[in-house]
């Protein structure tokens, strides 16, 4: 467990950027938080527990993440909505290769236009964060584990 406040602050800033680019936008900049070869995946705890690989979203590169971001903004038919991320309980350990294994809990609230705010999902991040040449921290791997097996209708935005 790291107890370097500066590093933890920097890591938390990455997660804040992650949430803000989804919650406040622009979603088009959200992919910039991932490394070129990043893996992004949303899984349900059920599939994880049953040993099934299916992801609700699966992106195997930043390009794939950009495709998803583009589709959300330009291709999908969606009822306008806004999501809001609350994230707490960061734990950080340093891997042999110098990358950081980071976990945290999340709760996501959804507000669909004309409706009230609801609890959309809770779950856990199991991520790998690396520092790239430009000195910036980015996600090498981000796995969002959703506690519920059932999604309330559509999963429009990343968790």
């Amino acid at each position: 467990m790291s107890n370097d406040p500066g590093l933890m602050l920097e890591v938390q800033a990455l997660y804040t950027a992650y949430a803000d680019l989804i919650d406040e936008g622009p979603i088009s900049e959200w992919p910039s938080l991932f490394v070129e070869t990043a893996l992004y995946k949303i899984v349900t705890r059920e599939n994880l527990a049953r040993g099934w690989d299916l992801g609700l979203m699966l992106c195997e590169s930043r390009g794939g993440i950009e495709d998803r971001a583009y589709a959300i903004e330009h291709l999908s038919l969606t009822i306008p909505r806004r999501v809001r991320h609350l994230i707490s309980g960061f734990a950080l350990t340093t891997n042999a290769d110098g990358s950081f294994a980071v976990t945290a809990n999340f709760a996501v609230f959804e507000t669909i236009e004309g409706r009230v705010t609801t609890t959309f999902a809770s779950g856990r991040y199991r991520d790998i964060v690396v520092r790239e040449a430009d000195g910036k921290l980015r996600f090498k791997e981000k796995i969002s584990v959703c506690d519920a097996a059932t999604i309330n209708n559509s999963l429009v935005y990343p968790l």
Partner: protein
């Protein structure tokens, strides 16, 4: 709120009254007549429960059932209601067990539902116990009528069901066997959605192939589906089942059908094209086959993603859609990876199906605006015959033909 019961005025099915999607009385009758009646309800895939004792919990209509593989490898479907005082004896979505034991008084049931244990049945120290004429044989978990074909499991409350093959009919059976071809299946994963619309709107969504060429910008943009692709719309003789069969064309005039499409983007290219690296895996030329099987199943083959979609009604205004993505045991690694990638098209976050779940939400809300109005289902005419194209709602009309019969509407 219906002061007098609703009546379906016109004789045809090219107009569908909106109260069939909202009236609680109609819904209650559906649970009994449609899901509880003479129908083969899809409950899962054998590959979900490969070994004796493996089980899953699911539902038929709104009624929880257990699907479990018995000692001899046979499959049993049991009502999830203890014969003593009614508890759900199975409280997990899946697992493996030797027997089902109700937690309350530990009545124990064999994998075939037979009641094998009743604690204190003979009393304790001469006190109490069950009456002498109490016969465990009369108190098992209710066993449903079960049939399987090539790895798919169906159950019915009716004991006098026709064989699944006849139930499907030749045309539908052939298409069913196209995907369920007897090769051992491999589960890729499940996803579950609670969709805020009436269950019938899910069937209409699939039975209406032409919406895809208009609603699904993603599909059309990448040529996965176009209204001008060679295709056909087929039903069984009763009209309750149907299938859309379509073939992806190599070079079509982009202006042909797509010009009618508001949001078509010709130039679009994927940054990570692996998402759509598709390989041909079936002998026939079809690239998309979407089959609907009365009363609760959709079988999907789109690109290299295969899935069953099970419909579980939850009141007139909602249903759960359970997707089971699968492949074949003999898929090589490349195909396994491919199926995972193509799964991005489907499910609650699907590049394609996301449009549909949103549309169904809008449909149920719009229908509530005035339930006394009716849908106009006249694309491709007013008849219910097969069509060698997909610019039609004939499968919806056929569906409601059978529905009216079953519901006495």
């Amino acid at each position: 709120m219906t002061v007098h019961p609703h009546k379906w005025e016109n004789s045809g099915t090219h107009r569908v009254p909106y109260w069939v999607y909202t009236d609680p009385e109609i819904y209650a009758r559906e649970l009994a007549a449609v899901f509880g009646g003479k129908s083969w309800n899809f409950v899962g895939l054998e590959a979900e429960i490969p070994n004796p004792g493996d089980y899953k919990r699911t539902a038929i209509g709104e009624s929880s059932v257990i699907v479990v593989r018995g000692k001899e490898g046979e499959i049993n479907v049991l009502k999830n209601q203890c014969a003593h005082r009614g508890l759900e004896v199975c409280r997990q979505d899946y697992g493996a067990t030797r027997a089902f034991q109700c937690p309350y008084h530990q009545w124990t049931y064999r994998l075939d539902g037979a009641l094998s244990g009743v604690p204190f049945a003979k009393g304790v120290g001469g006190h109490g116990g069950m009456p002498d004429d109490f016969d465990r044989k009369d108190h098992g978990l209710t066993k449903l009528n079960v049939t399987t074909r090539h790895g798919a499991i169906f159950a019915s409350y009716a004991q006098d069901m026709q064989p699944l093959e006849d139930y499907l009919g030749d045309k539908m059976l052939t298409l069913f066997d196209r995907v369920f071809n007897g090769k051992p299946l491999r589960i890729v994963g499940v996803s579950r959605q609670r969709i805020p619309s009436n269950w019938k709107l899910m069937f209409e969504n699939i039975k209406d192939p032409y919406h895809a060429s208009l609603l699904h910008v993603f599909l059309v943009t990448f040529g996965l589906f176009r209204v001008d692709n060679p295709s056909r719309t087929e039903m069984d003789s009763t009209g309750r089942h149907s299938a859309l069969v379509s073939r992806r064309s190599t070079n079509l005039d982009p202006n042909a059908a797509t010009q009618e499409m508001a949001s078509f983007r010709e130039k679009l290219e994927l940054k990570d094209p692996r998402l759509l690296d598709i390989v041909k895996e079936f002998s026939d030329p079809a690239t998309v086959v979407m089959q609907t099987i009365w009363p609760n199943l959709i079988v999907q083959q789109q690109a290299n993603t295969l899935a069953t979609r099970q419909i579980l009604p939850a009141g007139p205004d909602a249903f759960d859609l359970n997707w089971t993505f699968f492949g074949y045991e003999d898929d090589d690694d490349a195909m396994r990876t491919r199926r995972l990638r193509h799964a991005n098209l489907m499910g609650p976050a699907g590049f394609v199906s996301l449009d549909d779940s949103e549309v169904m939400d809008l449909a149920q809300r719009g229908i509530h605006v005035d339930p006394e109005q009716q849908a106009v289902v006249e694309m491709g005419g007013r008849g219910r015959e097969d069509h060698d194209h997909i610019v039609t709602e004939t499968a919806i009309r056929a569906f409601y033909g059978y529905y009216r019969e079953i519901m006495g509407l």
